[in-house]
Symmetry: C2
Subunit: 256 residues, 2 copies
């Protein structure tokens, strides 16, 4: 099943995504069993981030080729960081490049696990059962700020730097898929989604030794490759079996 959130009359509404329509739901499918309350055309839907997480977790170095390229050490055990909800934006909405950004402005295509249960001290099996579904993230990064600042606050968490969507797919073997990054239709990267140092369940087991995960929390799994973005571009992140997250890039203050 594919679940999304769309804007209807300015309100965020959950929906179940079909071929041509999105059935609107009375509430969140993550924590309940909502009823169908109506429908909207899929072609004209205004997509929102499919969930606004209580905590927004993100993995850094997790793909061997990325680690080798960065000349970083391979993490011996799962370690997690954070991103911020202000930066989230939905499928189809613009990534806005601030006018002050100098140097590399890059896309990072990522698999995202969406948590469906409250878990603490989870086993590997409990971690598997705790994943409600999977979506796609683009961890847009301004490299000069990333190197200058003590934290990732501007480099990775400026408004619109975290496109997520278009929906949560509940029925997919996420680690058996292929991630593809395209700019203006031209392929810039392609890698096996599951070629990770530590898989999502390894992370959930390690994280819940020290913290409680809650329904709606998300875990972004890192990227193998990145590519440069320019205002006027459209960037697509596709994960087979899930979908395509597509966003135009605008320069701040402009429409393209």
């Amino acid at each position: 099943m594919r679940y999304a959130r769309v804007s209807v009359g300015g309100r965020a509404v959950w929906g179940r995504v079909g071929e041509s329509e999105i059935e609107l739901l009375s509430g969140s499918p993550i924590e309940g069993d909502p009823q169908v309350t109506g429908a909207v055309e899929r072609a004209t839907a205004l997509w929102l981030p499919p969930v606004v997480p209580p905590v927004f977790y993100a993995v850094g170095y997790n793909y061997p080729r990325h680690i080798a390229h960065a000349k970083a050490a391979t993490p011996e055990r799962p370690e997690v960081g954070y991103r911020a909800n202000n930066a989230l934006t939905g499928h189809g909405s613009p990534i806005v490049k601030p006018v002050e950004v100098q140097g590399r402005f890059e896309a990072e295509p990522e698999l995202v696990a969406v948590i469906g249960r409250t878990i603490r001290h989870a086993t590997h099996e409990e971690a598997r059962k705790a994943v409600f579904g999977w979506t796609i993230g683009n961890d847009v990064s301004a490299r000069a700020w990333q190197h200058q600042d003590r934290t990732f606050w501007r480099s990775k968490n400026s408004d619109t730097f975290k496109p997520m969507g278009p929906w949560i797919e509940t029925d997919v073997d996420a680690l058996a898929q292929t991630t593809t990054l395209r700019v203006n239709g031209s392929e810039r990267a392609r890698f096996p989604t599951g070629d990770m140092v530590h898989d999502p369940f390894d992370y959930l087991v390690e994280m819940t030794r020290h913290l409680t995960l809650h329904p709606g929390d998300v875990l972004w799994m890192g990227a193998e490759s990145t590519c440069q973005l320019e205002p006027g571009d459209t960037v697509d992140v596709e994960i087979s079996g899930i979908g395509v997250l597509s966003n135009p890039v605008h320069l701040e203050g402009n429409r393209a």
Copy 2:
């Protein structure tokens, strides 16, 4: 006015805190004008974190004596990091020290600004008006993990490591107050709350150059001094004009 959240029959309910009673409210005072729906005794209230923020911002080096003690460089401009909602706990609830924690396990007494309005590109004056009120935070930190890990995920964001409360005070000149840290009633630190490199409004102006702040977002302002905590201790953070945030320290798996 003092606003809190308390647990009533297992539900989180907003309240207005009086001398002996807490008047229960129909909703959040941050975004609306809620009605009084009842009352509970203040003496027996179960206090929750006064807000669960959409984004949980925290300042690192911001007090000159702390910066000198850490032999760090004074930040030339406001830079902000993040903490995680799973770690929040209320006034009176235990800080649980994990059995694996080695070395220093410390309290950091902090002023907290609670945002009341949606702001972007704020002026200093708009930043002042955007603060709904002030509360108190204890940025509990496990130093060995802080030095070992790439992020603060375990060192500062394990469950219960972020006590906040007891309430939000809306009528106080927060920067003219005194912060006092006590363990088992004995004073361990005392400093002028407002003796900061960059004040909260400087932060809000700088942050909103790049991001949108939303009602309920919190900004923890850093600490001048810290002190060691042991299981069995009770740690109080007092900020004059706001109140006292008090929490017992338990060892994981024990009651004390």
